[in-house]
Symmetry: C2
Subunit: 198 residues, 2 copies
Amino acid sequence: MNVAVLTFEGFNELDSFIASAILNRMQPQGWNVQITCPTESVTSMNNVTVQAQQPLEFANSADIVLFGSGIYTREIAKDAQLLGRLKLNPERQLIGAQCSGALLLAKLGYLNGLPACTDLTTKPWVIEAGVEVLNQPLVASGNIATAGGCLASSYLAAWFIAKTAGLDAASNAIHYVAPTGEKEQYVAAMLAVIGKYL
Amino acid sequence: MNVAVLTFEGFNELDSFIASAILNRMQPQGWNVQITCPTESVTSMNNVTVQAQQPLEFANSADIVLFGSGIYTREIAKDAQLLGRLKLNPERQLIGAQCSGALLLAKLGYLNGLPACTDLTTKPWVIEAGVEVLNQPLVASGNIATAGGCLASSYLAAWFIAKTAGLDAASNAIHYVAPTGEKEQYVAAMLAVIGKYL
């Protein structure tokens, strides 16, 4: 399972790395999770520079594509050259977005009529793009999911795992990363959020 | 407020980046949060390479020092040359550790008689170092805190903020990053975990 975690200039560390680290719990099952960027390196909203593991085009053949979030998403949504490098297919790929990533899904036409989840800052821009925004952590329909609020990244990662490898695998991944002493309640919260979208 | 997030070779992305991103919510209040490494760059347990923002010695003059976690912590705990670069002082610095970072606090003598929280993998090694391990997300005494389970990083970050800038500031930071629709319950859970250690 090839997984592209799309990570752009000005990215939010929570939105790329919570999901990628949880998805990497599936490495023993052969998952190949890659920080995927338009340039050789990207620098976060907090000035942390990370080397790309894959170029943007890796997403085109990946099984799972996750759009991270960041402070320049509105500019990226207008960058036809950059977005033109993406040739995704929601018929054969699972596609998800975290926070402002929903704006890119809207721009690329994958939210056609679907409601979305996003963060409070991005919410007015997603509404402006003609998308209904829900006050909940995650929503999904078919192969498309969106999540809002940085820490909802764990729900989005769990949804990808549950959709492809089952709920037990998703529960195991969340159990591992959850706080000591709160593991059962974290797994229950995850099941409550994603269970209706599988 | 200078904050050193100690990030070593083989680091766990969750343990460095959840805390650093939440602590960076305090940037408008002048906080300077830095990924602090023993080398110019470090590569994570999932093969993601990050550039250091500061050398290890930055920690020696920081107000807050957070030991991240990773897959090589047992080796680092035996590396006298590397640990010798750290000259910390728990009298004037807040010092915390996430997951296997507790092993480094034990090695450096900061857990003298204190119980600790850590992850399930590291637990036997921390016990072997003579430290009692608690089945809860976070424990603190004076200026020293430890947290266990990757996602408990948000509690550790909130504890640092609450200790220095108050509970309202910690609540605001957690409210911002929490999942949409679950913000109040995330803040309440944080207050329940850290409230008794302030």
